[in-house]
Amino acid sequence: MLRLPRFSYLRPESVAEAAQILSEYGPRATVVAGGTDLLPKMKRGQIEPEVVVGIGHLPELRQIRATGDGGFEIGACVTLTEVVASSELQAAYRGYTRAAALVSSPALRNSGTIGGNLCVDTRCNYYDESYEWRKALGFCMKKDGNICRVAPASATCRAIASSDTAPAAISMNATVLLVGPKGEREVPVESLYQDDGQFYLTKAADEILVSLKMPSPGAWRSSYVKVRNRGTIDFPLVGAAAALKMNGSVVEDCRIVITAVGPQPLDVSQAARPLLGRPIDDAILEEVATEAAKPARPLDNADISYVWRKRMTRRAIEQAIKEAAEVA
C-alpha cells in the first residue's frame, strides 16, 4: 500500500499556538483537521510537509454559533456531517448545507471539516497521481515541475477548484475569519481564491482559517447543484450555486457562482440581470444560464469530456436557480 512519509505531528492547545507554530516553520508546515484531503496527497508526494499541525481537536474551532443578527459563525473544524445535521443552518442556507451534503461520502463527511472543504486542494488528473506516475510523465508546475500539463501554453496552473461549499458560501455573501501572526482579518469567501490552480488560496501560509461567517439570510434563498460522474464520492465536474432574493414571486436579486470549471469559483451574477424585477420565466432563465455559463473554461483534466462539462454548466445553473426559487 501507499505509505505516509515521515513527518512531525504537533498538537497545539490553542489557535494562537497553532499560528505561532505556522509562522515558525513557514511553508514547511501545514495544518490538518479531518485529513481527508491532506493525507492521501502526502502519500502520493503531492504535499510534503515536515510538520503537520493538528487543529481538529481545538474546541474554539468546533462550534456553530448564532451571531445574534440572524447569521451564524461556523468553526473551521465543524465537520461536514455536523453542518448537514444542523436544522438551523439547513433552514437558513439550503444551498450551503446541500453543498456540504454532496461532498464525497458519509464516512469522509464525518471526518472532513468545513474549513478543510473551503481550502480543499485544486484537482487535476495530471496532478492527482502518485509520485512515480508524475515522474514518469514529467512533473507539472503545481508540484516539482514547471509547465502546466493540461494547458502547456498557460503561465499559471489550471487545476480545478473543487470545493462544493465555496460557491454556495460565496452566493450568500459569506466571509471567513483568518488568524495569523499579525492578528486576524475577515475577508469575503470570494476573495479567498485566485485564478491560479497552484497558489489557489490568497491566505498566507501562516494564516489559519478559523471560521466561516454566514450573514443573516433575510429574504435570500439558495441552492446548489453538483454535476459529477457518480452520485457519491466524486468531486464536482461542474458546480453551480444560486441565491435568490425574492419579493413574493418576483426576483429582486440573484447571485450565481459556478465552480469546477477553472482554478477558482466564478461569480457570474452579472448574467442574472434579465431575471430581476419579474417572476422566474423559463425562456429568460435559459438565456441567463447560457450567458452565465460563458466564463466556464473546463479543460481536459477531469473525467468525462470538457465539451460535456461546458454544456452541463448551463444546465447546472438553470437547475440551481429553479431549485432556489422553489425553496420555501
Binding site: M1, L2, R3, N125, D128, E129, S130, E132, W133, K135, A136, L137, N229, R230, G231, T232, I233, D234, D303, I304, S305, V307, W308, R311, M312, R315
Partner: protein, 790 residues
C-alpha cells in the same frame, strides 16, 4: 469419470438450499487470513522498480546505491531470473524483471527486499536505469502499421501482430447470396479492469530446497508450473498455496512478476519475503478486458432467419501475450451458442501495444462480441420491422444440437430465460415516452473450458475425501476466490454423506496438500471440481454404507443416509466402524471433460465446454435528452443455472455479474494518455458504487444438465454478458440514438443526440473497421462425430 444422468425430481437435502457459505463466519468476524495477512517471523518486504517509459531498451541497471541503503538485504534484476514464462505455452514472453527492454509503464526491472516497505521503496528510487526510448504504440490502428523502429516483441508478427486467424464454417458466400436483408455494423468495446477489493499479495519461503509461495492466485497449479520452469526446480520441491481471496475476476489468473520476485528473494536471503501491490500497481499488472474493435455483417431471410454471419475482431492486447491467443479466439467462438448460424466466418487479430497486458476478465473475450452481436440483432430487427425479441427467438439454438463451429449444446434454457425477463419486466407493454427505455439481450457462457491451458491428458479436477475418527476432510485444488467454490464442494460432500456443509472441512487450493484442480477460471469449478467431489463422496458413502450394512446384516440398499446418520448409526459411529475394518478411509474422484464436445480443427480448443449456461436481461432506464445522463431504474435477469448447488450463492454470483456488467457498460475504461494509464486509482477509475446500483430481480431456471453435478452449470461469468448490450439498447429505446461503443458515458450519448439534431445519423461509435490483412480463410469441414479427438 463416467457421468451420471441427473434426475430433475431427485430428493435432495442440502443441494439447492439457500445456506450461508461455509467461509462466511471467518470473513464476517475478520479472522480469515488473506495473502497480505500472512506475517511470518523475520519477513522481508519487497518492492518492485517499474519502468516509467512505455517502450524502451534497457541499457543498464545500477543497483549499487540501493544496495548500500541501511535495511536493504537484497536487490535483484532481470538477469537473476533469466527464464521467461507466460500462462500459455505459446506466449512464454515475460521476464519476471525485464533486462532487455520494457514494454509498458509499470513493467518491472528490479526488486528489492528490505526490512520494511519504506526502505524497499527508498531503495527502488535509488536504482539507476539507463533506457533508450523506442516508439510507443498506443492503439490497434497504430499497431497494425509497420513499426518505425522495432516490434514490441521478437516473436509472432508481422510487426506488432500477436495472433491472427481466419476460419469459415458452412457456405458463407452462399448464405449472403440467399439473404433478403444484409446489414453491417462496427462497434468498439473499451478495455477495463477487474478492480478486486484485495490487491495482489505474495509471500515466499525457501527452506531446505523447498520453495513455498502463498499468493492471491486463482490458479495455484499454473503458478506452480511457472515456478518450476523459471527456477528450474522439480515440481515436488515447490508448494503454492492460494490464500483466501478478496476477489479475482480473472485478474489473478496469470503467474506474476511479484510472485517470481519474492521466490527469488527468499532463495537469495533465506528469509520469508512478501510483496503486496499498491492499488496503482494492480492497474499495471491488469490482464483485464481487451479493448476490441468489431465489424459484423449478417444476412437474414425474409422471415428473419440468419443465413450467414461474418464477424471480424481486432484486440488491443497490451504489452504481453498472457491469455491472448485464447482471448482472440473467444471473440469469435460463442456467437453460435445462442443463435443458430448456418454459415459463419470469423477473422480475428490480437496486436501488441505499449499498455498494461490484457487477459481474461469475467466473460473472457466474450462480452465484447456479445455486446456487438446483440446490438446488431436489434438493428436488424428494427430494419426489417420485427420485434427484437421475436427476431432472436426465430434464431435461438435448440437443446442437444451441434453448432456450425462444432460445439456441443446440451441443456439449454434460452427460451425460458427469455420468457421470464420479458414477462416480468412487461417489456412488450412498455409505454413509449421520450427519455424512458428498455433493452433486452441474451447470452450464453461455458461451464468450464473443455481443454486445459497446456496440453495434457490428466484430469482437470481431482478430489480426495478422508474420513478420520468421524471427521470429514475434502481435499481439492479448486481455489475459492470469493465465488464460493469451497461451499460448493462442502455441499456436494454433505449431500452424499448425509451431513451439513459446515460438517465438511475443506482443504483447497494448495499444491502441496491437494490434488490438482486447474484453477478458478472459465467458470469451470462447480462443474468440474463439483463432479470430482461428487464421485469421491459417492465412493465414501459406499464404504460407509457397506460397513453399516454388514453390521446390520442387511442390504446396502436398505441403509438410509441422512440427518447425520448412516442407517441406525450416527455418522461418527459408522465412520469408526468402517475405519476399524479398512484403516484410514479415503475416497477419490476426478473429472475430465468428454472428448466429443468440440471439433478437431486448429483453434477448436477454444469454445468447447461440457455445458453452456444461458442468461437473459432486460434493463429499464431513463436517459436525459439534454445531458445524456442515464438513470437506471431496474434490471431483470434470468439465468439457466442447470441446478443451484446453493441458491443464495448463485443469486449472489448472478447479481454480482449484473453489477459488474452495468459498471463496465456505463463508466469503466482502462484509458491511456501519453503512454500512461490515465487514472490508476479507485477514485479516478470510475466504477459503480452501491449508490449507482439499481434494483435487480433475479430468476433462476433449472434445466438440470445431464452431466453437471446434480445438474449444475456455471453462474460466475455468464450473467454479466447480456447486461451490457441491454443497457445500450435501452438508451436507444429512450432517445432514438445508437451508441455503438462502451462505456456509454453521457458525453457519448450527447454527441449522438447532437448528430441526430443536425440531421445526421444519431449515432456515436467507430466510423470504420481498419483494413487488416487476415490470412487466407481456413474452411472447416462440417462436424464429423466419428473424427473428434482432442
Amino acid at each position: 469419470m463416467t457421468t451420471v444422468a441427473n434426475d430433475p425430481n431427485a430428493d435432495l437435502r442440502v443441494i439447492g438450499k439457500s445456506l450461508p457459505r461455509v467461509d462466511a463466519a471467518g470473513k464476517l468476524i475478520g479472522l480469515t487470513a488473506y495473502a497480505d495477512d500472512i506475517e511470518l517471523p523475520g519477513t522481508l518486504y519487497c518492492k518492485l522498480l517499474r519502468s516509467h517509459l512505455p517502450h524502451a531498451r534497457v541499457l543498464s541497471v545500477d543497483t549499487s546505491a540501493a544496495s548500500a541503503i541501511k535495511g536493504v538485504i537484497a536487490v535483484i534484476t532481470g538477469e537473476d531470473i533469466p527464464i521467461k514464462y507466460g500462462i500459455m505455452p505459446t506466449s512464454q514472453d515475460e521476464h519476471a524483471l525485464e533486462y532487455e527492454k520494457v514494454r509498458f509503464v509499470g513493467d518491472p526491472v528490479a526488486a528489492v527486499a528490505a526490512v520494511d516497505e519504506e526502505t524497499a521503496l527508498a531503495a527502488c528510487r535509488a536504482i539507476v536505469v539507463e533506457y533508450e526510448p523506442l516508439e510507443t504504440v498506443e492503439s490497434i490502428e497504430h499497431a497494425l502499421l509497420p513499426p518505425s523502429d522495432e516490434p514490441i516483441h521478437d516473436y509472432a508478427g508481422p510487426g506488432n501482430v500477436h495472433r491472427i486467424g481466419a476460419l469459415e464454417f458452412g457456405e458463407v458466400d452462399e448464405g449472403f447470396a440467399n439473404s433478403s436483408f444484409i446489414r453491417e455494423d462496427v462497434f468498439f468495446y473499451e478495455g477495463n479492469t477487474h478492480l478486486p477489493m484485495e490487491q495482489h499479495s505474495a509471500t515466499a519461503t525457501f527452506v531446505g530446497d523447498q520453495l513455498t509461495l502463498w499468493s492471491s492466485t486463482q490458479d495455484p497449479h499454473y503458478v506452480h508450473r511457472a515456478l518450476a520452469r523459471v527456477f528450474d526446480m522439480p515440481m515436488g520441491h515447490i508448494r503454492v498455496v492460494a490464500a483466501p481471496h478478496g476477489g479475482g475476476f480473472g485478474g489473478k489468473a496469470d503467474p506474476f512478476s511479484h510472485e517470481m520476485a519474492v521466490c527469488k528473494l527468499a532463495m537469495v536471503t533465506g528469509r520469508p519475503v512478501k510483496c503486496t501491490l499498491t492499488r496503482e500497481e494492480v492497474f499495471y499488472v491488469h490482464r483485464g478486458r481487451h479493448p476490441v474493435l468489431m465489424w459484423v455483417r449478417t444476412g437474414v431471410s425474409q422471415d428473419g432467419k440468419i443465413l450467414a454471419m461474418h464477424f471480424r475482431t481486432a484486440l488491443d492486447g497490451g504489452a504481453y501475450g498472457s491469455y491472448g491467443p485464447a482471448s482472440m479466439l473467444y471473440t469469435g467462438a460463442l456467437q453460435t451458442t445462442t443463435y443458430n448460424i448456418p454459415a459463419y466466418r470469423f477473422e480475428g487479430v490480437r496486436v501488441f501495444t505499449n499498455k498494461a497486458p490484457c487477459g481474461p476478465k469475467r466473460g473472457h473475450g466474450t462480452p465484447q462480441p456479445r455486446f456487438a452481436l446483440e446490438l446488431h440483432m436489434d438493428k436488424i430487427a428494427e430494419a426489417i420491422g420485427l420485434d427484437p425479441v421475436e427476431l432472436r427467438r426465430r434464431n435461438y439454438v435448440k437443446p442437444y444440437t451441434r453448432t456450425i463451429n462444432h460445439l456441443r449444446i446440451t441443456s439449454c434454457g434460452i427460451e425460458e430465460v427469455t420468457d421470464l425477463v420479458v414477462e416480468a419486466s412487461r417489456y412488450h407493454e412498455r409505454k413509449k415516452r421520450l427519455g424512458h427505455g428498455m433493452g433486452f439481450a441474451v447470452s450464453s457462457y461455458m461451464s468450464g473450458a473443455g481443454l486445459p491451458i497446456y496440453w495434457n491428458k490428466l484430469p482437470h479436477s481431482e478430489c480426495i475425501i478422508q474420513v478420520n475418527r468421524g471427521g470429514v476432510t475434502l481435499y481439492c485444488g479448486a481455489t475459492d476466490i470469493g465465488q464460493g467454490s469451497d461451499t460448493v464442494l462442502a455441499t456436494v460432500a454433505a449431500e452424499e454423506l448425509g451431513l451439513w456443509p459446515t460438517d465438511i472441512r475443506i482443504v483447497s487450493g494448495d499444491t502441496g496438500l491437494t490434488p490438482v484442480d486447474l484453477g478458478s477460471y472459465s467458470s469451470r469449478v462447480t462443474f468440474m471440481a463439483g463432479n470430482a467431489a461428487l464421485q469421491a463422496a459417492r465412493e465414501m458413502r459406499e464404504i460407509l454404507v457397506s460397513a453399516v450394512a454388514e453390521k446390520m446384516e442387511c442390504s446396502p440398499k436398505d441403509v438410509m443416509v441422512g440427518d447425520g446418520k448412516i442407517g441406525e448409526l450416527s455418522f461418527e459411529e459408522a465412520a469408526n466402524l468402517a475405519q476399524e475394518r479398512h484403516g484410514v478411509l479415503t475416497a477419490r474422484g476426478s473429472y475430465t471433460p468428454p472428448r466429443e464436445i468440440g471439433g478437431k480443427y486448429k483453434a477448436a480448443g477454444v469454445g468447447p465446454s461440457p455445458a453452456y449456461s444461458y442468461s437473459a436481461a432486460v434493463v429499464d432506464l431513463d436517459a436525459d435528452p439534454y445531458s445524456g445522463e442515464i438513470q437506471l431504474n431496474k434490471v431483470w435477469i434470468a439465468h439457466d443455472i442447470g441446478r443451484s448447488i446453493n441458491e443464495l450463492a448463485v443469486k449472489g454470483q448472478v447479481e454480482g455479474g449484473v453489477y459488474m456488467g452495468l459498471s463496465e457498460a456505463m463508466m469503466e475504461g482502462q484509458l491511456y494518455r501519453h503512454g500512461l494509464h490515465k487514472q490508476p486509482s479507485m477514485l479516478d477509475y470510475k466504477s459503480f458504487t452501491f449508490f449507482e446500483m439499481p434494483e435487480v430481480e433475479t430468476f433462476l431456471v433449472e434445466t438440470v444438465d445431464l452431466e453437471g453435478p446434480y445438474g449444475a452449470k456455471e453462474a460466475g461469468q455468464g450473467p454479466l454478458l447480456p447486461v451490457i448490450p441491454a443497457v445500450v439498447s435501452a438508451v436507444h429505446d429512450a432517445l432514438g440514438v445508437w451508441v455503438d461503443e462502451v462505456p456509454i458515458t453521457p458525453d457519448k450519448v450527447m454527441r449522438a443526440l447532437d448528430a441526430k439534431a443536425k440531421g445526421r445519423e444519431g449515432r456515436y461509435g467507430p466510423k470504420s473497421f481498419p483494413q487488416i490483412s487476415y490470412p487466407p480463410i481456413v474452411k472447416v469441414p462440417p462436424f464429423d462425430a466419428s473424427s473428434t479427438a482432442f
